[in-house]
């Protein structure tokens, strides 16, 4: 540096130092003055805005303007200020200030904390805003008026905390990052990033990998103020790479409880952008969303309608198992706290399911769930079952509580069999990793075949549910009824082709009360029954079982009436049992046996639409001899055995069985000896009896 330049710098530095010194002096003076008048400023603001305002400190510098620290605006006498600004820099234009007008040009806020609470007249923050806004308008007439005609507000962080609900206050935070509000003569623009953080309740969080819901949405709102309305001409929400466009209006925006209406243009959103779904459910796919927000500001209603298209989810449940949901399609609706899934379809661990669901968003939400197998699937896997659905109505607490109904429509040879199992007051411990117990106070099994209804009632249902990969099992099933106990298990294996397995065993069941409810026959009057039923949809004979009655009582008067025998005095029987099986084509009844003192019965038959079978009856000669006609016949035949065999061929239909007396010693002998007229008379007499019995 040469000497000329050095001397010039010296000449310049002196005034520069002087100016800086003056500025520092002025800044110190203004700061001190503002500090000195802080009390007056606070009083002025209190008086102007009508709210208690506390400012911890004021300073001034030429770069940051007036700096206010710890500004609190109190709604009422409460300890906590709903509006708290940690530090704000306010740029007030000097010239208008000299003229007695505060013109705010720019406000920079470091951190703004808003405590959100619903008051009687509306939301506390809106009420404060409404009152201050009106006061600012009125301040035009005051000696020191406030003007905000052109203002830019930069807020680094806004934290909005709901303080109505203690749980939400602790576990939910809505924040806005790097927000900017620009306002110029009626027109405004807002931009920032909204971030929602919500910690799930423990009973829901235990199902999730991450108990925090965190979602960021970039937001831009542009509009204008027109009269009492704040028009939002453009609302742009950016969720990841996707964008949603909307528009709306805030009617009477400066009132305490304005009316809000925002409509978004339907948009396609990829599930990758929904952080919660991505983290917890490995979500893939997209949905077409229609969103509408409307209503008074203190209770806005949200209407959301989304169409899901081929969405895939994976859910890892405790115990290392995975629920694989693929190709989820359907409609989701949210309105007024109620969440609905209408007619959705999905492949759950490769098995197709139709789903309807409704739940409310609350701590212990009510839940309605209807799951059914699609008809197309049933047709190819279990053709005889036309409908299989499970419906649950109840609530979602630490355990699932409510009522559960399983409905099946079984169709065989055009015969509709509507079967229902209704579990009342169930408790299902869905969370327990090792065993999920399923209990119910009562269980009703109903079968309606349009001709008659059979209804069995049981109590104290207990079981354990196991959910495995492609497998669903209910083990250790047990319930009480008809003085006996039933036990069994059910499994659905969906790995390759669906296999539905069901087994039930009952012992010591009281026949009298069981027959009353089962409405099968009124001829079985007593006894103890053991029963076993197995079902496997993959087997040709898909339903098999046996029924075994000991020490029973039966009324065979109908049978004896046919052949004009006297009523059986002794209705007791030692054993009665039957084996049965049902296949697509035929119902087989084997080993139907009844053993009593007077009558021994042995029958077998197959029934489709028709009956084909044989009935062997051994009737005690002692009993036959009590009938005048039979005594004569027995004398004619000269048979002196203890029991007389009668063998019948069975035919016709189950509703009206046909009997034909087949050849036997007894028949042959009397046939040879009886005159023709008598034979005809016997037949006519029996026909008359049948006619009477049929009409009765």
């Amino acid at each position: 540096m040469n000497s000329f330049a050095q001397s010039r710098l010296k000449k310049l530095s002196i005034p520069l130092i002087l100016i800086i010194a003056l500025l520092i002096l002025a800044q110190t003076f203004i700061s001190n003055t503002l500090g000195k008048y802080k009390g007056r400023l606070v009083d002025y603001l209190n008086a102007t805005f009508g709210y208690r305002i506390v400012i911890d400190g004021i300073s001034f510098d030429f770069i940051g303007g007036a700096r206010l620290k710890g500004i609190s605006v109190f709604y009422n006498e409460a300890d906590r200020a709903p509006i708290f600004i940690k530090e704000a820099g306010v740029y007030v234009r000097l010239l208008p200030l000299i003229c007695g007008k505060i013109v705010v040009g720019r406000i920079r806020i470091n951190e703004l904390r808003l405590l959100f609470k619903k008051e009687k007249e509306g939301v506390n923050l809106q009420i404060i805003y409404s009152d201050i806004y009106k006061r600012i308008l009125q301040s035009k007439n005051l000696p020191l008026s406030i003007s905000t005609n052109k203002v830019v507000v930069d807020i680094k962080t806004i934290k909005i905390v709901p303080i109505d609900n203690p749980y939400l206050e602790k576990n939910m935070l809505v924040s806005l990052k790097s927000s900017r509000i620009e306002y110029k003569t009626g027109k405004f623009k807002f931009q920032g990033t909204i971030k929602l953080i919500y910690r799930f309740l423990p009973n829901i969080a235990r199902f999730l990998n991450n108990n925090l819901l965190e979602q960021g949405i970039k937001c831009m709102v542009q509009g204008n103020i027109e009269g009492n309305n704040l028009n939002m001409d453009l609302i742009l929400l950016s969720i990841g790479k996707e964008e949603m466009l909307g528009m709306g209006v805030n009617k009477n925006f400066a009132e305490r409880n304005p009316y809000l209406e925002i409509n978004f243009i339907p948009a396609n959103i990829s599930l990758d952008n929904i952080v919660f779904l991505k983290n917890n459910l490995d979500a893939q796919g997209s949905f077409f969303i229609l969103l509408k927000i409307y209503g008074l500001m203190d209770s806005p209603k949200i209407f959301l309608n989304a169409l899901l298209e081929n969405c895939n989810f994976k859910y890892h449940i405790p115990g290392g198992e995975i629920f694989n949901i693929r190709n989820l399609m359907g409609q989701i609706e949210y309105q007024s706290g109620s969440f609905k899934i209408n007619n959705a379809y999905m492949e759950f661990n490769d098995s197709p399911l139709n789903i309807k669901m409704q739940t409310s968003i609350s701590k212990q939400p009510d839940i309605f769930l209807n799951v059914s197998l699609p008809q197309k699937f049933l047709f190819s896997h279990i053709p005889s079952i036309k409908q299989l659905e499970v419906e649950f109505k109840g609530s979602f607490k630490n355990i699932l509580m409510g009522n559960l109904e399983v409905r099946t429509l079984y169709v065989r040879k055009d015969l509709n069999l509507d079967m229902r199992a209704y579990f009342k007051n169930i408790e299902f411990d869905y969370y327990n990793a090792k065993e999920k117990y399923l209990k119910a106070d009562t269980l009703e099994l109903t079968k309606d075949n349009t001709y008659k209804i059979q209804k069995l009632s049981f109590t104290n249902f207990t079981s354990n549910v196991f959910l495995g990969n492609n497998k669903f099992e209910i083990r250790d099933i047990g319930f009480l009824g008809y003085n006996g106990r039933l036990s069994g298990k059910l499994s659905i294996d969906m790995a390759d082709k669906t296999i539905l397995n069901f087994g039930l065993k009952g012992e010591q069941l009281d026949v009298k009360s069981l027959m009353h409810d089962i409405n099968l026959t009124d001829k079985l009057l007593g006894g103890k029954m053991a029963v076993k039923i197995t079902f496997n949809n993959r087997l040709k004979e898909f339903l098999k079982g046996y029924c075994y009655i000991r020490d029973g009582m039966t009324d065979l008067d109908a049978l004896t009436n046919y052949v004009k025998l006297p009523s059986l005095k002794d209705k007791q029987f030692d054993i009665m049992h039957a084996y049965f099986s049902i296949s697509k084509d035929i119902i087989r009844l084997r080993g139907l046996k009844l053993k009593s003192h007077d009558i021994m019965l042995n029958a077998f038959c197959d029934t489709n639409n028709s009956i084909n079978g044989v009935l062997n009856i051994k009737i005690a000669s002692e009993l036959l001899n009590q009938s005048v006609q039979f005594r004569r016949l027995l004398n004619l035949a000269r048979l002196k055995t203890e029991y007389i065999d009668f063998k019948f061929l069975l035919g016709g239909v189950p509703k009206a069985v046909r009997f034909m007396w087949m050849k036997g010693d007894f028949k042959e002998k009397i046939r040879q000896k009886l005159p023709l007229g008598i034979k005809e008379y016997i037949q006519v007499d029996i026909d008359k009896n049948i006619e009477e019995l049929s009409t009765n």
Partner: protein, 183 residues
């Protein structure tokens, strides 16, 4: 006095008798022509064309709807339609016939004609199943014979026979198998 009372009673009784006589005559006036007309139709069918008999039968059914001969006549009308292959009219006539005379002896044979028409023309399968049920609606107990036989002779000189077996029902017309029904 006694004579007067007896006289009054005689007048009263004879009044009742006259009224009864009038009713009897009126009834006979209806029954006798119907009977006469019925036998006229039977005769006409034997001696003349079946078509003439059919026209007479139609008139009869119209004129004497309450006559004891009317079910037989209406059955014969249905039969005529069936024999002349006028199936739509045959079906309608049989359906109304069955509705009016559900318990008549000939009703089961009317069902048989309807079953024959529908099964041969491969008509309504649901109706066919319902018709099948009619043949197997009551239990049957066969003691010394293999089948229960019922027969019916129609005005059109057809002899029908129904044989109810344990496993089937066979209907014969003029000793030829008309149709067989299994459940």
């Amino acid at each position: 006095m006694i004579i007067l009372m007896t006289r009054n009673r005689i007048i009263k009784i004879s009044g009742y008798f006259i009224i009864l006589l009038i009713f009897f005559n009126l009834a006979c006036a209806t029954i006798i022509p119907a009977k006469k007309e019925y036998y006229n139709i039977v005769k006409k069918n034997r001696t003349e064309s079946m078509d003439f008999a059919f026209m007479k039968m139609r008139d009869f059914a119209r004129e004497y709807p309450e006559s004891i001969y009317t079910p037989k006549v209406r059955f014969a009308i249905a039969e005529y339609y069936f024999q002349t292959r006028n199936y739509p009219d045959a079906i309608n006539t049989i359906i109304s016939y069955i509705a009016d005379y559900p318990d008549d002896k000939s009703t089961l044979f009317a069902y048989a004609i309807l079953y024959k028409i529908i099964s041969e023309r491969r008509g309504n399968l649901e109706l066919l199943e319902k018709l099948k049920e009619k043949f197997f609606s009551k239990p049957l107990f066969l003691i010394f014979s293999e089948a229960k036989i019922k027969s019916y002779n129609s005005i059109l000189n057809n002899k029908y026979k129904i044989a109810e077996y344990v496993e089937k029902v066979e209907i014969f017309k003029n000793n030829e198998l008309f149709c067989a029904v299994t459940p």
